[in-house]
Amino acid sequence: MMKYVFTFDPNRCSACSSCMIACTDQNDIDLAAGEKCYRKTYDTEIPLDDGKVYCAYLSTACMHCDDAPCIAACPVGCISKDPDTGFTIYDNTNCIGCKSCAMACPFGAPRYRKEDGKMVKCDGCYMRVKNGMKPACVRACSFGALDCVPEDQVTGAYSDKACNVLINQAGLRRKAH
């Protein structure tokens, strides 16, 4: 199985939100109706203990965890791994909107769609990837902050940028207020 991973370089992200707009377009997300985009960008300031300010620019969505806890948490079996890409995909035909997947996810990736009472999430644009294209968010990123590559290409200096590597890292340093 070829496995793909998203990579993200926070030093290249300006939170311009092009990725969000592309995600919204690709997935026909109706923001006016209150739906939420699967990808979310953040431009936020966090005051530090030393009086300085940490400026965070982020673009986040489903991390497509290797051992995704949402899969076992779904009581109806809606969520699974795509065998061709390794992305965490779903078929919400039987979704009961119980939010068990949201409770299982440490990143807040699954979102509740009030319109039909079902959960939705980033599926990695797995159909695009299967057909040789990049996910919509990656294609829209002008600064090269987001990418999606086969796992075996994530090596060397870039390896610490892979989302499912990032989520396994611990050891955090600077204390904020």
């Binding site: 953040y42 806890p69 440490p106 807040g108 600077r174 204390k175 904020a176």
Partner: protein, 427 residues
């Protein structure tokens, strides 16, 4: 070739069979089930009743036939195991048959507890746990004769049964013996808000009411009579006061039990070669360090998978239970994370309320003990994650993405600080 027996075939039993088969393609796996249907999820029953899913969706792993073929199982249908002999690693059946195995899994689940009070078996009195219970209630409601209902037990099941009735326009009263709803999981202050919001939806509440018995009125309606003499009359009565692990058949086995079968992190019982998983067992709770019966679908699946692998010699460990109760009903949701009964008067309390959220959390001994949140469903996983991390490291803090997420969702800074504070860069 290893010879395995799985007693009981729900979420835990299925995941054990799947893991054992994945780890050992040659193992011989016998499954004993007291039904003739596949593993179903009891949590889905009320969703079937309301029409959110079809009957087939109760069975998330497929039909018994499909599973039997896929996992190469020998399934004994309608064949309850009546006893277990640990010294011989043997299961006993009602007809006197005894079969020995290399390892045995007890995954018999739990049953709805209905006390055998006078009137418990009157027509119109029902419980909610099995696929048959769901079919029965759905049929009863579709007949259209039910105009009023009593739900005895402000439990996680009770609130979903209540939703099924209310959404059909049925006048409902929620009754419980405790002084407030969900009393073993939420703070009184949280319960006050939950109850106020239920009343706003037109639901009548009666707490501190212990059920004595049920009578049938001359017109066929049912009256639930309380121990204090209060009487509540309606067309139907749901008894949703809790579940009990299905472990009666083990009482003479010598296997260590409390409410459920006691297991270690490998899902081993006190008897060599005998494992237990799911709602019938008590695994370690990460908060108290003690064994607790926490009947949750995700636990059952994880525990079953761990047991199945260990049964064929592949070492795996279950990371531990945590008390988590998520309820959502009638466009409303709340969650309780951690053990509310562990909180003490001297502990530090956090409370916050705005038009969207309610938070109440308690810290003691340098750790978060319990968090109650109303209206936060999308963010529950992030908060649960920091709670779990705090048991690995009492100084655990939220990383930048978690802080950004919670801020964007309108969480107050004071709550973020209370549950751990912020960390902004990596070592």
């Amino acid at each position: 070739m290893k010879k395995l027996a799985i007693i009981g075939f729900g979420g835990a039993g299925y995941c054990a069979a799947a893991a054992a088969r994945e780890c050992d393609p040659d193992a011989h796996i016998d499954v004993y089930t007291d039904t003739d249907i596949g593993p179903y999820n009891p949590m889905l029953t009320t969703y079937y009743v309301k029409g959110a899913i079809d009957y087939d969706a109760l069975f998330p792993f497929g039909s018994l036939e499909e599973i039997q073929k896929k996992l190469k199982l020998q399934v004994y249908r309608d064949t309850p195991v009546t006893g277990l002999i640990p010294a011989e690693k043997a299961v006993c059946l009602a007809d006197g048959t005894k079969r020995a195995y290399d390892s045995i899994l007890v995954s018999t689940g739990a049953s709805a507890f209905v006390p055998k009070i006078p009137g418990w078996d009157l027509p119109g009195v029902f419980k909610m746990r099995t696929a048959a219970d769901a079919v029965h209630l759905k049929k009863m409601l579709e007949e259209g004769k039910i105009r009023s209902g009593l739900v005895v037990g402000a439990s996680w099941v009770g609130i979903k049964v209540l939703e099924d009735l209310v959404e059909r326009g049925i006048d409902c009263t929620l009754i419980d013996g405790a002084d407030w709803s969900f009393s073993i999981a939420v703070f009184r202050e949280t319960a006050d808000r939950i109850q106020r919001d239920l009343e706003k939806k037109g639901i009548k509440l009666a707490f501190g009411q212990m059920l004595s018995h049920i009578e049938q009125e001359p017109d066929g309606r049912l009256t639930a009579v309380m121990k204090n003499g209060n009487r509540f009359t309606a067309d139907t009565v749901a008894i949703c006061i809790g579940i009990r692990p299905n472990v009666g058949f083990l009482k003479d086995s010598g296997i260590a039990m409390n409410r459920g079968v006691l297991v270690d992190e490998h899902m081993r019982t006190s008897a060599e070669g005998i494992y237990a998983a799911g709602d019938c067992c008590e695994a370690y709770d990460i908060q108290s360090g003690e064994q607790k019966n926490i009947g949750v679908w995700l636990n059952a699946r994880k525990q079953g998978a761990v047991a199945g692998a260990n049964m064929v010699g592949v070492k795996r460990e279950f990371g531990g239970n945590a008390l988590l109760n998520l309820a959502h009903y009638l466009d409303y949701d709340f969650i309780s994370i951690g053990d509310v009964t562990s909180c003490r008067e001297e502990d530090e309390v956090y409370e916050y309320e705005d038009e969207r959220y309610y938070f109440r959390a308690v810290r003691g001994g340098g750790r978060i003990k319990c968090i109650n949140m109303i209206g936060t469903a999308d963010s529950n996983g992030i908060v649960k994650s920091i709670f779990i991390k705090s048991f690995e490291n009492s100084a655990a803090e939220l990383d930048v993405s978690a802080v950004c997420y919670l801020r964007a969702n309108g969480f107050p800074e004071s709550f973020i600080e209370f549950i751990g504070g912020k960390i902004v860069d990596r070592a």
